[in-house]
Amino acid sequence: MATVTLADDLKPLHHPRTWIGKYVWSQDHKVIAIQYATTAIAVGLLALVLSGLMRLQLAYPDTFDFIQPDNYLQYVTIHGMIMVIYLLTALLLGGFGNYLIPLMIGARDMVFPFVNMLSYWVYLLAVMVLVASFFVPGGPTGSGWTLYPPQTILEGTPGADLGIIMMLVSLAIFVVAFTMGGLNYVTTVLQARTKGMTLMRMPCSVWGIFVASIMGLLAFPALFVACIMMALDRIAGTSFFMPELVSMGNRTGYQGGSPILFQHLFWFFGHPEVYIVALPAFGIVSDLVAVHARKNIFGYRMMVWAIVIIGALSFFVWAHHMYVSGMNPYFGFFFATSTLIIAVPTAIKVYNWLLTLWKGNIHLRVPMLFAIGFLFTFIHGGLSGLFLGNVSVDVPLSDTFFVIGHFHMVMGVSPILVIFGAIYHWYPKITGRMWNDTVAKLHFWITFIGVYAIFLPMHYLGILGVPRRYYALGETGFIPPSAHLANEMITIAALTVAAAQLLFFWNMIWSLFRGTRADPNPWGATTLEWQTPDTPPAHGNWGPKLPVVYRWAYDYSVPGHARDFIPQNAPPASAPPPKGEGA
């Protein structure tokens, strides 16, 4: 029988017998999800520390002996690389994708559990290679997270010896890991939905993760190819990207390569990557808003279509990262237009979130606070994106702190707020315990106000012309003393926010052991993951029988019903139960 995953038995499941089989070499999507998430968060903490060190240097130059220019550039590079790829991509797709897809579509596991397990271990290998680059002679690469040639592999750039090779190898390994995971997510959604779960009955979270996985599968090959070609340039002396040039007074052996070619390949991956991170966050926030406002998501079909359209359009905007690279101005015109067009489906989503909140029965629980916080930061970051999408505005702002403020708002803070909201939202299901509400609220408010204190002033610094990636500003006439003061303030805010994350970690760990037992469905949500027979869900998720889905995911506050939600697997009152269907 071809449809093993749909068959109502447990036979195809891999049943571990030992502790190691259950929690280390596990093929259970829930355990893999937690492995992915903890690894991503752990390496994210490293990136957080690096950002703290950068902020210290920016606020108090000439104070810290251990931060030399080389170190600063290494911090910049590894911070960006970890946050974008090893934290956000891995956490949203490897973590939430793994946990939510099978539970939300009513499957027992991913369709290829072994490949899924392999995906995590290969990802861990990529992380280990990356972290190991701190311990090689010369340290990690300091070329900026975009790794632009020719400077990336030339003498003088920190980590040009071994650091860059390890970076490229680590990225290539990551792409392999992601491809294995992504194939699983896409195939599982297409293949293993339970009876009655039509495409348009899937929760927005699954839609976001699904489309983001497809995008990742198509975009990451560009990074893979770029990494291999760059590694060949560095190790074997080919000239894919390296032009003829003189370095440190010596002629290099390179000839005729095109640095722009690398930029095209990198951003063909790099821009979809923004949406690979954003779309799962969009999907998750849609569910958080609907559940905690006790209202169906406004314009569900429009929300799904917008996700698909954004996913498609995002492959046609990459060169808006390259306005200052000297490419043909007509390209700039084309990419500015496509960039502004992609704002339309994005704006539709924002309006629909706001309209979902409108006259909703809003419960300001912590996940909802984070979801609303996301709406603020995302609108802010999105609007500054409209500025930067226009060539004539982008050119003067491109190398300033304005860009830092913009992309941290839109793809740093916004997805992180959603991730926090999502962790608080699903924690009771994942662990079976409830977190401490007071500490969680404190964590939200410090984080939310703190990120504004950090990133809003950066826009002003950028308009003043404060350049990004600089180790120290030195004596610069056009930068007023107030900018230095702002830098100090930003650093204090950044360190406060970083320290406030201890509240989160304390809360998560303490509640794991001491939290009150959670209700199986504490938020009164309709989606399938809250209807499992066990909390936390057992291996195989659904006990002896798979759930049958009778309705869409957003039946909240339906008039004439006793409760304000109807689970997706609750049969309609008028219809006969599934057994009597054939009559």
């Binding site: 195939t187 490419m327 889905v549």
Partner: protein, 206 residues
């Protein structure tokens, strides 16, 4: 039901179990996974191809770095055509295995299955020989961008062939009585043949 009508479903208006059982129209998971992987690999080779053309464009003086004229196409020795023929034989053998599998002819199918993999191995050996011949004639990896792309493309394609051989070997070593995954293997090898023909056309025409 077409994809568009499925995406147009007003799911809030239609509670109840849909008449269609998903099991009735869904192909097996491995097949769907393979099709998705075809997409990934297609993108991979398309991207290298576009990089190939852009790098050539630099030579022609269209790039922003002036003309360096460093693109010297490689010759096409007879071996490259022999290897192509071998890969076609592999595809034919897979097709034969598939056809016999459908008719339930177990013994000839096994022969075809075995020979298909052997042709694959032969192709890989031929490609390595091709590399050695080129290197012996002075066409090194770093000597010229045309060479670099040639080695890159053949290596990426060869890795995919090696992956196919891994699954072939795994199928050979399968436990007794388990069916041979002929259909999927055949599809994969046909896909790799198509990729190779496209890459060959690229290498020969430029």
């Amino acid at each position: 039901m077409s994809l568009f009508s499925r995406l147009g479903e007003k799911s809030w208006e239609t509670p109840g179990v849909p008449a269609e059982d998903p099991a009735s129209y869904r192909p097996e998971a491995a097949r769907v996974g393979l099709i998705v992987y075809f997409l990934v690999a297609t993108f991979l080779f398309l991207l290298v191809t576009s990089a190939y053309f852009m790098r050539m464009g630099v030579e022609a003086g269209h790039g922003s770095h002036g003309s360096t004229g460093d693109w010297h196409p490689m010759p096409e020795p007879p071996l490259i055509w022999i290897n192509t023929a071998v890969l076609m034989m592999a595809s034919l053998a897979w097709e034969a295995a598939r056809a016999m599998g459908r008719r339930g002819m177990a013994a000839p199918m096994r022969t075809a299955f075995l020979s298909a993999g052997l042709f694959g191995l032969l192709f890989l050996a031929g490609q390595l020989l091709l590399w050695r011949d080129y290197a012996a004639a002075g066409y090194f990896l770093a000597a010229n961008p045309a060479n670099s792309f040639f080695y890159l493309l053949t290596a990426l394609h060869g890795l995919h062939i090696a992956g196919g051989l891994f699954f072939w070997l795994r199928a050979l070593l399968r436990p007794r009585g388990a069916p041979l995954p002929v259909e999927l293997c055949a599809a994969y090898w046909h896909f790799l043949l198509l990729v190779w023909l496209a890459m060959l056309a690229l290498l020969v025409s430029t």
